[in-house]
Amino acid sequence: MPTLLNEFSLLHSNTASLPKWNALQLCLMEQARLLGIQQLSISPPVDMGSTAFVLQHPAISPIQGHYASPAGWLPNRHLSELLLQAGSGLMSVHGRASGNAQPLGVDYLSALTAAMTLHGTLAAAVGQLRGGVFHQVRISPLGCGLLSIGQYLAGATAPEDREEFQPGCSDPQLRPPFRSSDGITFELETLDSSPWRNFWTSVGIASELAGTAWKGFLLRYARAISPLPAACPMALARLRYAKIQQLAAQAGVAVVPVRSIAQRHEDMDYQQTLGAPWQFELSPTPSRKHRDIAAPPHLPLQGLRVIESCRRIQGPLAGHLLALLGAEVIRLEPPGGDPLRAMPPCAAGCSVRFDALNHLKSILEVDIKSTQGRQLVYELAREADVFLHNWAPGKAQEMQLNAEHLRRVQPHLVYAYAGGWGEAPVNAPGTDFTVQAWSGVADATATKCSTRGGSLFTVLDVLGGAVAALGVTAALLNRAVTGIGAHVESSLLGAADLLMQGSGKTSRGVLSGVYPTQSGLIAIDCQHPDQLQSLAMLLDIPPDVDTCQEPLAEHLRTRPALEWETMLNEHGIGACVVIEDLKQLATDTRIAECLGHKAYSSVNAPWSFL
């Protein structure tokens, strides 16, 4: 694999601007390394003020990176994975099917915020090389967290048919994954009702009951719940795994075991990629190298054109992020439009969930499987900078729309594929839940949350979208420097590997947890013993993590969560109200700058540029 950006270097501040959030720094360094970017630390130490890092390259002016929280919200110095998961609503969405609002158990927002941080920074470099002035990028970690739940926020704030799912609203025992009589935990997956019906009939479940299970299962990625009639898991708990596999194969339903991270590490494809979520292949040097000629852009990717042919979440989110950075995104949809447009809740004639990811794009309906449609795609690609798709494996070749075909019409193209399984030999639809199971993410989450499986929040679709978009912009930056296009592949599984690499590497705080208060939940994260000491002094409780728990819990019940948040942060103790009802986000004036309000609440770009 070529190291793409090895002439770039990232200079890290010695005085960490987010001192309580080491996992973010580690993820940032790891992702930069995987893109070939050299890492430098300053010696002797120099105080860079609020600058967290600087991106350097001989062809650009240095780009400073800053983390920025909304004024009046939590101070930057207290931000941590736990508090961001609490304050962004992520705990709430994860909690719908896991019993209560609680953390995911993996350093998710560290990986996501790192990807978004690098993305904004590399985009700024692209913008500079296209004649713009982008010397500083400011990233809102809260904005990144909010983007991760943007579709759920849209559903919760729609003008009608609003989704009102609170943490604990669905029985954590009566949801996928399932467990066999010989103790194997596994996911089932199918995108059609007939195989589902046939499978359940074959295990003795009445068709009507299978239909009830299907309704929840069908909508699980949209609602983060998948309520099942008790008879369904009970029927499978009586069968051995091999028998279930056999019946599922006969019915056309995929079965994917929930595996440990150790099992994932033994996979051949994992060992071959060494955990890199992107596979870059540089295009042959064309007779005429690409030269960016453009009017100075206001946003870093302004003037660049992306053709997107993607369904569901991962690919459209990648396109959305590129659009937020200023790219013109033309979205190809099948004749009649993407059926997701009709999925309630709707506003102004469109699914808000769909709109949240696609409102910045222009739409072109085209039958890409037809000869005429293919010719149109060639014509579009000729004038494009990026072609992004998430078709099923083999389809690009079949439709004569693979990287090579499109390179013939546009030699400088960045051709991107945001897939499911990468090179893994798994015969199942590559959806969020099957990939969580296979990659070890589900097992890690289950262990931390004492649930049977992973999250029904679309953990990997969102991170996969951010990773895919970052890969595209890294390739655009390489093209801006070298004049050469590239083919970049990423996948949900690659995103999962990246997530697991970054998780659990930093030590947990001395006291870190979610507590009930007089009204609402509060997340408290004491990363250092001196913070625990402050907490102990403030509340007159023992400064010991074990013996303080009972009196702490008692104290916390005497005031509402918001009062505790203010008081604890004033005393240097990281604390954040756990958002339980997503509608709270829409009315919190402190974070108003992060959200836009049309017919529903949408999430603004987490970047700003100077």
Binding site: R197, G211, W214, K215, A342
Partner: protein, 90 residues
Amino acid sequence: MSISVIVPTLLRPLTNGEKRVSTHGNSVAEAIDNLERQFPGIKARLVNAEQVHRFVNIYVNEDDIRFADGLNTPIKAGDSLTVLPAVAGG
């Protein structure tokens, strides 16, 4: 008593903006044919070649007709028919 039909947002332009309309029939297919007479164009949005569109789900009360007798699923006065466009995946 008639059959009450819950119309999804995107089909409401065909039902004069109504979220809930009434129809009659002894099966889902008959109810859809009767709906078509009341609201021309609606049938094509629900079925194609006598099959329910792949991304349209129809429920009689709480039950998905794909897990009953499809368009031949019997209905009776007082039942409710819900149309829910949805795509599986994730």
